[in-house]
C-alpha cells in the first residue's frame, strides 16, 4: 500500500451521526475501493468536541481522519462546511469523495461539487472500479428505479457520489484500530446566513399508505383484532403505515381502506414487513414494487417467503411484541 497517499474520502455525516449508519457503511466500501487503488481511506469530520466521532470512525476502519474541531463549526451550515472542505480538497486532492445520500448529504455535496467544478452522482446503489478501464463507476437508479445508470466522471476530480443508505455493510467495530489524525488548516469562514430558531423532534408529514416509506402488513396469522392493533404501534415507531390482506379485512380487524393487493391498493415502500400473511398472489401483486420485504410466518413453506428478502419463521404475535419491546428500549 502506498502509505503516503490518501485518495479516497468519505464525509463523516454531521447531522445524522449515529442515527445513521451510512457513514460507517461508506467507510467499509471506501476502504475496499482504496485498496484497489493502492491508497488509503480518509474520513472528514467537522464540528466541536468531535473526539467520540473520530474514535468511532477509526474503530470502523478509517485510515486517516481529517478533522476540524472548531467552535464556529459546532452547528452544520452548508456554506461554512463547503468553504472548509473545498479548501482541504484543494490541498490533498482526493480522487474519490463519498457521502451518504441523507437529507444532509444531498444538500451539502451538490454545493461542494459545484464549488470544486466537478461531477456528482446521486443516491448511488453500487460503486466499483471497472477492471478494464479503471474507471470509477457510480451506479444510480433512473426512471423511478426501473433502470440503473452507470455514471463515470472522466476528467474532473474528485469523483463525487452520494450513496443510498443501506447499500453497503459496515465493518465490525474494532476498538483497538488506529487512524492517522490530521488537523488541516481551517480557512477564513464566511458569515452564517442561516439561523435555526427551532427544532422539533417530529415528522411534519404523515405519509399515506401509498406513499409510506415503511409499510407493515398484517394477515389472518395475526390471530385476533387485539394482536392486529399492535401493528399500529410498530408502524408508529418505524414511521410507517399499516396495510392488511383480504382475510384480515374480512375478519373485521381493519377497514377496507387499508386493503392491499388486487382488490385494494398497491404500495412500493422502501421496507415492507408482512406478518402472518400466507402470500396469495392476489395479495403479493400489490406489494411487488417494495424495495425490501421482511416476511414473518409460522409455516416455512408459505409462499410469502418466495418474495421476501428476509424470511422469519416464527409466531406472528410473539415476534411483533418482542420487536416493539426491543425498538422501544432503543428509543
Amino acid at each position: 500500500m502506498n502509505r503516503g497517499s490518501c485518495l479516497v474520502w468519505v464525509f463523516g455525516d454531521y447531522g445524522d451521526y449515529f442515527q445513521n449508519r451510512v457513514t460507517l457503511q461508506l467507510i467499509a466500501k471506501g476502504k475496499s475501493l482504496a485498496a484497489e487503488l493502492d491508497t488509503r481511506l480518509g474520513v472528514v469530520v467537522l464540528g466541536e468536541d468531535i473526539g467520540q466521532y473520530v474514535m468511532e470512525y477509526a474503530a470502523h476502519g478509517a485510515d486517516v481522519i481529517y478533522a476540524a474541531d472548531h467552535h464556529a463549526l459546532k452547528d452544520y451550515d452548508v456554506e461554512l462546511f463547503t468553504a472548509v472542505v473545498a479548501s482541504w480538497v484543494g490541498i490533498y486532492r482526493p480522487e474519490i469523495f463519498l457521502a451518504g445520500a441523507t437529507v444532509f448529504g444531498r444538500e451539502f455535496f451538490p454545493r461542494l461539487a459545484k464549488r470544486l467544478q466537478t461531477g456528482l452522482s446521486a443516491d448511488c446503489v453500487a460503486l466499483e472500479i471497472d477492471k478494464e478501464s479503471g474507471a470509477f463507476v457510480q451506479t444510480t437508479p433512473a426512471f423511478g428505479g426501473d433502470l440503473l445508470a452507470d455514471v463515470i466522471t472522466p476528467q474532473h476530480r474528485p469523483q463525487m457520489a452520494t450513496v443510498h443508505p443501506g447499500t453497503f455493510r459496515e465493518l465490525s467495530h474494532d476498538p483497538f484500530a488506529i487512524a492517522e489524525l490530521i488537523y488541516p488548516p481551517v480557512p477564513e469562514l464566511p458569515p452564517r446566513k442561516i439561523e435555526v430558531i427551532r427544532r422539533r423532534q417530529e415528522r411534519a408529514h404523515k405519509a399515506s399508505l401509498k406513499d409510506a416509506k415503511v409499510v407493515i402488513v398484517g394477515g389472518k396469522g395475526m390471530g385476533s383484532k387485539a394482536n392486529f392493533e399492535k401493528l399500529f404501534q410498530l408502524a408508529e415507531i418505524l414511521d410507517g403505515e399499516v396495510g392488511a390482506t383480504r382475510p384480515a379485512v374480512d375478519a373485521g380487524w381493519i377497514g377496507e381502506e387499508r386493503l392491499l393487493g388486487q382488490t385494494g391498493k398497491s404500495v412500493r415502500p422502501r421496507l415492507l414487513i408482512t406478518i402472518g400473511t400466507s402470500g396469495a398472489l392476489q395479495y403479493t401483486s400489490g406489494i411487488q414494487g417494495s424495495e425490501t420485504v421482511i416476511a414473518v410466518n409460522r409455516d416455512p413453506s408459505a409462499p410469502i417467503f418466495s418474495v421476501a428478502d428476509l424470511g422469519i419463521v416464527g409466531d406472528a404475535d410473539r415476534i411483533v411484541s418482542l420487536l416493539i419491546e426491543e425498538l422501544n428500549r432503543r428509543l
Binding site: T263, L281, Q282
Partner: protein, 379 residues
C-alpha cells in the same frame, strides 16, 4: 387536417383528470349508493369554471373552445358519469341557448350566476306523453296581457333537484288555434314551479333527476328566450350541441371502463399468470380501445364543426349514436373482463354498466339519432 390536440387541450385534459381523480373519485361510490349530489364537489369545480366552459371571460366563464369543453366533460365522466352529465347538461343545453339567443338582460341575470356555478341549469323538454316526439308537448303558455302563465309537467329533468334556472319548452296556442313553441327561462324559486322527488334511477345516481310541474306559473316577458314561436328552432340547435356533450360524456364512460379493465386485467392472476396475457382478454381490450377512439374522433369532429359555425346536425347525431354505443359496449366487455368481481360493487365497472345505458336513451334515443342521420342522407 389536424387531428392532434393542441398544447392547451393536452394540459386541460391532464388538469381535469387530476382534479377528477383527486377530488371527485372519492365521492363517487357514496354518490351512487345514496343518490346524494356532492355539494363539496360543486363548489370546488365552480371555482374552476367547469360551470361556464364556453362562456366568455367577461361573463365569468372559462372561454374554452368546443373541443376543450368536450375534453372537460369526458374527463369528469371518466370518473363520475353522473357529474359529467350535470356539467354536460348545464353547459350544453342550458347555458348554450342562453348565450346564443339571450338578450343583454338575460345574459347578465342568468348566465353570470350560472357560469359562476351559483345556479345550475336545466333544459325541460320531455313530458309524460312527449319524449322523442316533441310536437306532442302539452305544456302551455298563455299571455294574460302583462305576463305569461305557464301550465304543464316536465319529467326526467336532469339536474332538476339542484337547479336554479330552468328552460321550459312550452306551446303557445294562437287565436287561430295554431300551436307554436316558445322557450321560457323559469327560476326555481318562482311561484307556481314545483319540483317532484328525485327519481330512483338505475344509473347516473347522484344527479337529481326529477319532474318539474308548472301550475299557473306567472313568467314576465323578459324571461322569454327568443321570440314567440322560435322555440323549436332554438331547441333543435341546442340539441345538436347537447348531443356533442352527451357524446363526450359517453366517450369518457368508455374510457373509464377501458382504464378500469386494463388495471384489473393486469392485476388479476388466474392459472398462475395475469389474465392480461390471455388472447380473449386482449381481444376485448382492443375492441374497447378501438371503439372508444373512433367515437372520440367523431365527437371532436362534430365539436370542431360547431366551433367553426358550420352545420353539424348530422355529425353530432353520428357522434352521439356511436359514442353511446361504444360506452355501453365498453361497459359490457369491461364487466366481462372483471368476471365475478365485476358483478359486485367492489369495482367501478358495475356502476359504469348501469350508468352507460342511458346514453343510448337521453338527448334523443339511438333510434332518433338514426332518424336524424338518415333524414340528412335522404333529403
Amino acid at each position: 387536417m389536424n387531428l392532434e390536440p393542441n398544447m392547451k387541450q393536452v394540459v386541460i385534459r391532464r388538469t381535469v383528470r387530476s382534479d377528477a381523480e383527486n377530488f371527485l373519485a372519492p365521492l363517487t361510490a357514496e354518490m351512487d349508493r345514496t343518490g346524494r349530489f356532492p355539494k363539496e364537489w360543486r363548489s370546488f369545480v365552480a371555482a374552476k369554471q367547469y360551470f361556464g366552459l364556453e362562456i366568455p371571460k367577461d361573463l365569468g366563464g372559462a372561454g374554452l373552445d368546443a373541443v376543450s369543453a368536450c375534453i372537460v366533460i369526458e374527463e369528469v365522466s371518466r370518473v363520475s358519469p353522473a357529474m359529467g352529465l350535470c356539467i354536460s347538461v348545464h353547459n350544453g343545453v342550458a347555458l348554450y341557448p342562453l348565450h346564443i339567443y339571450g338578450d343583454d338582460y338575460q345574459k347578465e341575470n342568468f348566465i353570470r350566476p350560472m357560469a359562476a356555478g351559483d345556479s345550475i341549469g336545466t333544459f325541460c323538454l320531455t313530458e309524460p306523453n312527449a319524449g322523442s316526439d316533441a310536437s306532442a308537448l302539452e305544456t302551455t303558455a298563455l299571455w294574460d296581457g302583462s305576463n305569461y302563465v305557464l301550465n304543464g309537467t316536465k319529467i326526467f329533468v336532469t339536474n332538476g333537484g339542484v337547479s336554479g334556472v330552468n328552460l321550459i319548452f312550452s306551446g303557445i296556442v294562437s287565436e287561430s288555434g295554431k300551436k307554436s313553441f316558445t322557450l321560457f327561462i323559469v327560476e326555481s324559486e318562482r311561484k307556481g314551479l314545483e319540483k317532484g322527488r328525485p327519481e330512483e334511477l338505475m344509473g347516473m345516481r347522484g344527479n337529481p333527476v326529477c319532474s318539474i310541474s308548472l301550475n299557473d306559473c306567472i313568467v314576465p316577458s323578459e324571461n322569454r328566450l327568443g321570440g314567440e314561436g322560435q322555440g323549436m328552432s332554438i331547441a333543435i340547435s341546442t340539441l345538436h350541441g347537447g348531443r356533442i356533450g352527451i357524446g363526450a360524456q359517453a366517450v369518457g364512460i368508455a374510457q373509464g371502463c377501458l382504464d378500469a379493465s386494463i388495471l384489473y386485467a393486469k392485476q388479476r392472476i388466474q392459472f398462475g399468470r395475469s389474465i392480461s396475457e390471455q388472447g380473449a382478454i386482449q381481444g376485448m381490450l382492443a375492441d374497447m380501445a378501438a371503439k372508444t377512439e373512433a367515437a372520440r374522433l367523431l365527437v371532436y369532429r362534430a365539436a370542431s364543426l360547431r366551433e367553426k359555425g358550420l352545420d353539424h346536425g348530422k355529425q353530432s347525431a353520428m357522434a352521439k349514436l356511436l359514442a353511446s354505443e361504444a360506452a355501453v359496449e365498453a361497459a359490457r366487455l369491461g364487466l366481462q373482463i372483471h368476471g365475478g368481481y365485476g358483478y359486485t360493487k367492489a369495482y367501478p365497472i358495475e356502476r359504469f354498466y348501469r350508468d352507460a345505458k342511458v346514453c343510448e336513451i337521453y338527448e334523443g334515443t339511438s333510434e332518433v339519432q338514426r332518424m336524424v342521420i338518415s333524414r340528412a342522407l335522404l333529403k
